[in-house]
């Protein structure tokens, strides 16, 4: 991959665990990737694959206990985030690294005015006084396409629709002009037309402000339209990393291939059942030996059930965690 100088963020062997009654759940288990400046990186996976935990780990927002970052290294613009004192982490959060969450209905504080929630960020990080912060907040609301910004400022979140709330979230996240924006399923809770608008907005603002973006989603359609590179996660591990176009054309991992096949195709013949990956996502507290996808994998052989697969480089920048990565890649 790229040399370090161009990376805004590098995650190296991140391991995040949760202590539960059933034992230690390795929600993220040895995840590594880099994010280049100005790049949009997609992280896809099913629920429980560890994609959200990865992003929360970068923000140091894992609740301790029960959670714990058990190992690895996260470097943001030369700073080691995991060894940083909490006070300094807070100075980065919201200012240089910002985050948008999945559910705009619950992610805004229902008890506080929009203005309070927007202005507190810039007052904290940019030292704005009340008036500056208010002006800036109105500017940000207009930027995200809220036309009656002045009136909305004194309203409460429950007066806004889901799409509007997510716009407010985006305005809030971008108000300090962060270098890195983590969007954790920003459109999952919205209906499809609003989804497209919000994604378009993120894309446009990202280009204008030069922000690097990590886009977490389970929607492959979103990934295709938005990202430069994609990480596919499964059971807390990176199963495949590839440039977006290549991943869609030539996946080198049976899991990715399964995901791509399960996207419904408009030309799909009626009466023929849609494809789905057989079985359920694994219980990350009790992973099988060998490859964690093996029980569901149509291509699995004996070696998959006994030996942990290698992380193979297929092409420059295209890696896959599979015993048969080369074969799968060639089949495509």
């Amino acid at each position: 991959m790229n040399e370090n100088g161009h990376n805004i963020l590098s995650v190296d062997g991140l391991r995040t665990q949760f202590a539960t009654e059933d034992g230690v759940v390795k929600a993220v288990d040895g995840v590594s990737f880099e994010l280049r400046k100005g790049e949009t990186l997609g992280i896809v996976g099913e629920s429980g694959s560890g994609k959200s935990v990865t992003s929360l780990s970068i923000m140091r927002l894992i609740q301790e206990p029960p959670g714990k970052i058990a190992g690895g290294k996260i470097t943001f613009d030369g700073t080691d985030l995991l060894s940083l004192p909490m006070n300094d982490v807070r100075k980065l959060r919201g200012k240089r690294i910002a985050m948008i969450f999945q559910d705009p209905m619950t992610s805004l504080n229902p008890f506080l005015k929009i203005s309070t929630q927007l202005t507190e960020v810039t007052r904290l990080h940019l030292g704005h006084n009340a008036q500056q912060a208010r002006d800036h907040a109105i500017k940000m609301l207009k930027l995200v396409g809220i036309s009656d910004a002045e009136e909305r400022m004194d309203g409460y979140p429950h007066e806004l629709s889901g799409g509007m709330r997510q716009r407010v979230m985006i305005a809030m996240a971008l108000s300090c002009d962060p270098e890195l924006l983590i969007a954790d399923e920003p459109t999952t809770a919205l209906d499809v037309t609003i989804q497209a608008q919000i994604l378009e907005l993120i894309k446009e603002l990202k280009d204008r402000m030069g922000t690097s973006v990590i886009l977490i989603t389970h929607d492959l359609g979103v990934v295709a339209g938005m990202t430069d590179r994609v990480i596919v996660m499964y059971a807390g591990k990176v199963f495949e990393i590839a440039p977006t176009a290549e991943l869609f054309k030539r996946p080198a991992n049976p899991y990715t291939r399964g995901l791509l096949r399960s996207v419904p195709d408009p030309e799909h013949e009626r009466g023929v059942p849609l494809y789905q990956i057989p079985g359920q996502p694994p219980d990350v507290a009790n992973l099988p030996p060998g490859c964690s996808f093996a029980p569901r994998c149509e291509r699995a052989e004996d070696i998959c059930r006994s030996e942990f697969p290698p992380f193979v480089e297929i092409d420059p920048g295209h890696h896959s965690l599979c015993h048969f990565a080369q074969e799968v890649f060639k089949e495509a």
Binding site: T106, N109, P110, F111, L124, Y156
Partner: protein
């Protein structure tokens, strides 16, 4: 609210009537002539609906008449004379309960599942399980008879208020602490708190600005009735500490079958309770914009 108060008064009146005996059924039998005069004066020979109508029309005008026991004093005078004692203790106990309860509850929520959580919460459980007629003598024994630090009873100066206030407020402090902890834990788990943290706000701001309002909502709905109960429910405490408050006079009135006085106090307290509930409902709207009325 007003129909409710009238209903309470009616029920109380009915209950006093149903209970056997009355103010005049003393140990020593009154001469028949005397009793007849009294019955005539208070209209006790009238049919019940007529008595009820007379009573109601007086009550509606805020006139509860004279006390039977304390001759020549109106019920209103007696209530206003004794209210300040109960109110002082009640309000101080309320403040004590709020400060201790909110503080301990919030603190415990922040230190969830640590010794700093279990400590205050066990104490709260302890406080909830001890009836105040047990707590009062224990406190008196320790602070008055062993340490000689505080007076054991009677009205007189601030130091004489400390033990009654603690005795009265302890249960409420414990209850508020538990409600606060539960409410705060619920709110601290919510998504918008994560958003607030993601903005880089420090723990104090997250707690005070973002979590507190939502976290104390369950406490608010409890505090209205609690304040009324504190003003009204000082009976035991006033008895133990020999304080001349409303609770004390209420018990005496019931024992004496002093019907106008009982009615007056009941009406007064029920209006008080309803008023506090109303205040709570209104303050809900200020705390939670989602339930603000148009």
């Amino acid at each position: 609210m007003i129909p409710m108060a009238l209903l309470v008064v009616s029920l109380t009146w009915g209950l006093i009537r149903i209970a056997p005996g009355n103010f005049y059924s003393t140990e020593r039998k009154l001469p028949a002539a005397v009793e007849a005069t009294i019955r005539a004066k208070y209209g006790l020979d009238d049919p019940w609906y007529k008595q009820y109508a007379t009573m109601m029309s007086n009550v509606v005008r805020g006139d509860f008449g004279d006390s039977l026991k304390y001759q020549g004093q109106t019920v209103n005078e007696i209530i206003w004379r004794h209210l300040p004692y109960s109110a002082t203790i009640g309000i101080l106990a309320y403040l004590f309960a709020l400060i201790v309860g909110l503080g301990a509850g919030t603190y415990a929520a922040l230190k969830q599942n640590s010794i700093l959580d279990f400590g205050p919460m066990s104490l709260a459980m302890f406080g909830l399980s001890i009836p105040n007629f047990v707590l009062a003598p224990v406190l008196v024994m320790i602070f008055a008879f062993w340490l000689y630090a505080l007076p054991p009873a009677r009205w007189g100066g601030f130091s004489s208020l400390i033990l009654p206030v603690i005795t009265l407020g302890a249960i409420y402090a414990a209850y508020i602490a538990r409600l606060t902890r539960a409410g705060m834990l619920e709110v601290l788990r919510s998504d918008f708190i994560r958003t607030a943290r993601a903005k880089g706000l420090n723990d104090r701001t997250v707690l005070l600005r973002h979590a507190f309002r939502g976290g104390i909502l369950p406490v608010i709905s409890f505090t209205g009735p609690a304040l009324a109960a504190l003003l009204a429910g000082t009976v035991v405490v006033e008895k133990v500490y020999a304080l001349p408050g409303l609770g004390d006079i209420f018990i005496k009135a019931v024992l004496n079958r002093d019907e106008p006085l009982v009615l007056g106090i009941v009406a007064f307290l029920s209006i008080l309770i309803m008023a506090f509930n109303l205040i709570v409902d209104i303050s809900y709207g200020f705390l939670d914009p989602r339930i603000r009325y148009e």
